[in-house]
């Protein structure tokens, strides 16, 4: 059984303490995420640098895009800039100079830039990682088209191929992530950047915008989960819809899973298909169960097989621990496996679910 809070071994505790100490020494990473060039990522990043400097933090600019606007020039004039180095005609962030200068905060535009061959690291985000390791906090900006697991999707929309990437895991490790949102007109009007960019109808920009917002929501959700676990808060509420489809061998699972998938897609939520193992089922039932699980796999649902004395209690425990918002359950007149228990089982489920929607599929 999965459990939200469990006792840790001494080894695990030691590991945790060491991880926490390493985290304390490391600089903080803040990422401004944009869906296209021209939405104002660089401006937001530099403006944050200006405000931090005004509050007394030691801020330097480590890297900025080659082309700028008057607004960005105005901000740059108020900040200390560590010039880019030129290597074979390519501008590179001067990481050694920054490490030597040792500021409190370093602003790094264009996280996804590639370094020229022969550099210490192939990509700028790896240099940023070094700065963080040295205890320097970094505020940076990145366009979703460079996030490795989104690259293909973005490419299908824009038709443009990019080679540079930033791993999703690096983004997930950020302490803070901010989405720089703007209507598509702004992205078109404000585009000053020379690099790969999005051009074309509003529809495309709008799709990219949606991807950026959902990516930020996912990162935020992951952070929330971590926060709740660290603080031992068994919270069931969440901002994301999580749909649990409870199946049995004889359940008419296809319509339930299809509906679950449709709802999960529409809400950009999770779909989980759960089977609570029943003792001693017949060969026919086993086959029926396999078929239902195959349907779940085809729908790309997460599948969980749980063990428990009381199926309803087991389902509810799982649902509450995993912040489920909707339980889908079949109700057949033929097959009443729950009638082994006292009370009316559907009522028991509804009563126990209490802060979760229960959707009944009569069949």
């Amino acid at each position: 059984m999965p459990s939200a809070i469990r006792r840790r071994s001494p080894e695990e505790l030691l590991q945790q303490v060491q991880a926490e100490e390493a985290y304390e020494r490391r600089g903080r990473l803040k990422v401004f995420l944009g869906y296209a060039s021209g939405v104002g990522k660089s401006f937001r990043m530099l403006d944050e640098g200006r405000r931090r400097r005004e509050r007394g933090q030691d801020v330097v600019v480590g890297a900025i895009q080659p082309k700028t606007t008057p607004e960005i020039e105005a901000l740059l004039s108020k900040l200390e800039v560590i010039p880019l180095r030129q290597v074979d005609g390519v501008y590179v962030m001067d990481a050694p100079a920054i490490l030597k200068r040792r500021p409190g905060v370093c602003l790094v535009d264009g996280l996804a830039y590639d370094n020229p061959p022969g550099s210490k690291h192939a990509s700028r985000w790896e240099d940023v990682n070094d700065l963080l390791d040295a205890g320097i906090s970094v505020v940076t900006s990145v366009n979703i088209q460079y996030i490795d697991d989104l690259r293909e999707r973005v490419q299908r929309i824009t038709g443009k191929h990019v080679t540079q990437t930033v791993p999703r895991s690096f983004l997930n490790s950020a302490d803070e992530i901010v989405v720089v949102d703007a209507p598509p007109e702004t992205a078109i009007a404000g585009d000053t950047q020379a690099g790969p960019r999005v051009a074309g109808p509003e529809q495309k920009l709008s799709e990219l915008r949606e991807i950026a917002l959902l990516l930020a929501a996912d990162v935020v959700d992951r952070q929330l989960e971590g926060y709740l676990q660290r603080n031992g808060i068994p919270q069931t509420f969440g901002a994301q819809e999580r749909i649990l489809v409870a199946i049995t061998p004889r359940a008419n699972a296809a319509p339930m899973i299809a509906s679950g998938k449709r709802n999960a897609d529409r809400f950009h939520g999770d779909l989980i298909v759960v089977y609570v193992r029943q003792a001693e089922i017949s060969a026919d039932d086993q086959q029926a169960l396999e078929q239902n699980l195959a349907i779940a796999r085809a729908a790309q649902a997460k599948i969980e097989i749980l063990d428990g004395q009381d199926p309803i209690e087991t389902l509810l425990k799982y649902a509450h621990e995993h912040r489920i918002t909707q339980i889908f359950v079949g109700h057949s007149t033929r097959e009443q496996w729950w009638e082994r228990f006292t009370g009316t089982p559907l009522d028991r489920l509804i009563r126990g679910a209490n802060d979760i929607d229960v959707r009944v599929f009569p069949h």
Binding site: K30, R156, E176, I177, V178, V179, D181, A182, P183, P201, E202, Q203, K204, S206, E207, R209, E210, L213, L214, A216, A217, V220, D221, L224, L228, N231, I233, Q235, T236, F237, G238, A239, Q240, R262, N263, R266, H268, D310, I312, L316, T325, H331, T333, G343, T344, L346, D347, R348, I350, R351, G352, A353, N354, D355, I356, D357, V358, R359, V360, P362
Partner: protein, 381 residues
């Protein structure tokens, strides 16, 4: 009579708490428009004593507010008539969900904004996610606060643009601690309840997801030439009208009905389904009910209509039978019922309303909606 002007465009700056920078960003947009030669006025602005924000109003004409006397005190509201007379191209209106003081022409500021839009004036406005009607119960369970000033979802859906104003909770908490958002005393109080990090994180995620949804539903309206849906993507339920989902909500006198209506409507909106609400009574004018119950049912039906849900009163004795009959006749695919009160859990021998409906519904889905007020005290199974 001159032709009606085309309706003004509405842009909403959506945030998740006071102090994330909605007003600041809205004014920045207004300044940009002014630089481009647009005739801009400020219809309503709430300075909250924030210096940076006040500086952003510089050079933009403000239409003086209207003073309204209410019980011996003077309140100031947006002067909608004065703005209509001034007839700007673009009007800045802070705090979209605001409730006007009694004696104002309209109950809500968002209704004033509708008047401006009808007159062909473009509007920029601000709101927080917790003011969206369909999220009211979720917000309550997250924050413990029942938000009274709400915006019906259809008003948000009608906006031409919804823009997320994002700031991390940590940065917001820093701002709060530095006294940028509220005075120190008020900030302390805010930190103790509403402004807890986990609360802010959830509200922020809600705002991000809502904005993504608003962006997505607007894509359907685009007729960009050459746009091809993703290969392999097809939504059968949507392609064929025969398969379209229809949601029916049962309205009763029970106070949880409001929650049920919000949830049903939200699911309907996400599934692009039609949504109806019905009450069942022996008398079509509800006069068989106790006056208190009748008042509650009428209030709930009215609430549903305000959310643009079609309502009906069904005349009959047997609630489950009437409901399911109506559903079958009208091609309903999905029923929404309230969670029964613990006092209403039936004896073993009797069927609950839920069971009766499930038994009759056959080819329909039946959802029993969560009651977040139960969240803190999980019931024994």
């Amino acid at each position: 009579m001159p032709d009606r002007p085309p309706r003004g465009k509405l842009q909403i700056f959506l945030g998740y708490a006071a102090g994330v920078g909605k007003t600041y960003q809205m004014l920045e947009e207004a300044q940009k428009a002014k630089r481009e030669g647009v005739d801009v006025v400020i219809g309503y602005f709430e300075p909250h004593g924030r210096k940076d924000t006040i500086a952003k109003t510089e050079g933009i004409e403000m239409v003086p507010r209207r003073a309204i006397d209410y019980r011996g005190s003077i309140f100031e509201e947006m002067d909608t008539d004065a703005i209509l007379r001034r007839r700007p191209q673009l009007c800045v209106v802070d705090e979209f969900p605001h409730t006007n003081v009694p004696g104002s022409e309209r109950l809500k500021r968002w209704q004033d904004v509708q008047i401006l839009l009808d007159a062909g004036i473009n509007v920029l406005t601000t709101m927080n996610i917790q003011h969206l009607e369909s999220l009211n119960d979720q917000v309550w369970s997250i924050t413990g606060i029942r938000v009274r000033e709400t915006i019906p979802d259809w008003v948000l859906q009608q906006a031409d643009q919804v823009v997320m104003v994002d700031l991390t909770p940590r940065a917001l908490l820093n701002r709060l601690a530095r006294g940028v958002v509220y005075s120190q005393e008020k900030a302390q109080k805010a930190l103790e309840n509403f402004f807890q990090e986990s609360t802010l994180v959830v509200l922020r995620e809600l705002a991000l997801r809502q904005t993504a949804h608003e962006v997505e539903i607007r894509q359907v309206d685009y007729d960009a030439p050459g746009f091809e849906p993703e290969p392999g993507y097809h939504d059968e339920a949507e392609q064929s009208p025969a398969n379209a989902e229809r949601i029916l909500i049962l309205v009763t006198a029970d106070p949880t009905t409001a929650m049920l209506i919000r949830r049903g409507k939200r699911v309907a909106d996400y599934l692009h389904a039609d949504c109806f609400a019905v009450a069942v009574s022996r008398e079509i004018d509800l006069h068989d009910m106790a006056p208190r119950d009748r008042e509650m049912v009428e209030r709930h039906l009215n609430f549903a209509r305000n959310l643009h849900i079609e309502t009906r009163i069904l005349q009959g004795e047997d609630v489950a039978k009437m409901l399911v009959e109506f559903a079958h006749l009208n091609g309903v695919t999905h029923l929404f019922l309230a969670r029964p009160h613990p006092s209403q859990w039936p004896a073993l021998s009797r069927r609950s309303l839920v069971q009766q409906v499930v038994h009759l519904a056959r080819d329909m889905q039946v959802t029993i909606v969560a009651d977040p007020s139960n969240r803190q005290q999980p019931q024994p199974v």
